[in-house]
Symmetry: C2
Subunit: 194 residues, 2 copies
Amino acid sequence: MATSTFDLNRERVVAVAAELFARHGYHGTGIAELGKAVGLGRGALYHYIESKEALLYAISRTQVDRMNAHAEQALASALSPEELLHEMARGLLRNIAEHRAEWAVFFRDYSALTGERRDKVIAARERYEGYWRQALDRGVASGALRPAPPLLVKGILGMLNYTYLWFEPDGELSPEELADEYVDLLLRGIRVSS
Amino acid sequence: MATSTFDLNRERVVAVAAELFARHGYHGTGIAELGKAVGLGRGALYHYIESKEALLYAISRTQVDRMNAHAEQALASALSPEELLHEMARGLLRNIAEHRAEWAVFFRDYSALTGERRDKVIAARERYEGYWRQALDRGVASGALRPAPPLLVKGILGMLNYTYLWFEPDGELSPEELADEYVDLLLRGIRVSS
């Protein structure tokens, strides 16, 4: 799997852009600032990226595509519905913990995308929500889970996504352990008797 | 309760700033743009606000203070622990639904605050989390709830806060109904037998 110099340079530009956008906001980061941070002049920079919005798109799309690939793999496996929910939550929290800058940019600024780029990111995002619905539906079909309200998926994703704001990679819990705690809670509830 | 012209004008400036920050980002909104939107020159604008950061502070602080006041009132009432959780969730989702621009600005950009302002918003935010912990602890003390992991509060707040991104005020559910669904889910869990 040969990766070209062009690809490597582009990846570096995207990574540095993610850090800058996360720190100063997408709107608050200029192309000149980005060029300075990666050590490229305006012309060389535009060799690797089409526009600032293309960078925001690359950052957002990469993360969501990664989560879709992870969910597809989990759904294709032989996991039980409950194990499947755990695995999907683990994948998401691990990814957020490893790419906090990218996720911060995505959550804060994806709404700055326009036109086709915006549509594509929203569609990819909806596909991911659909995978969670599939996992929950499997649990209902198998008799393991009660039918839950349609907005449960957004609630679960809120619980998991919000970690981008506070999760400490050096804290007591690993992302996987936190994912397990949250999914266990959703499965069992917190009431003593039900 | 007399409200001065100064206060009314300042409120209007803060409200317009919230809309602009929500649309173009805090970093992406200039003072000149804000002046134009409220129809005030630079000098007149600075009569009402100290700085752009002071606006971000006012927007963030107002929402968090409101939620703290609501939680304090709920905690001081005679509600059972489960009713208390419902009431706190209802208050938060109602507030988010009514002030989506302000909450978007808060969640996206409060980290742009510096120094004392940043410390104060973070402290107010932590007080709010503490109220949720108190409510859960009461449930445990009364025997109604199982002791939950310390990070549950952040999970619940993620579930509720994330609605700022997607909640449709004209949708099928009112904010209060959605709050009830989420809290019921947390209380009961989604597993068939536990």
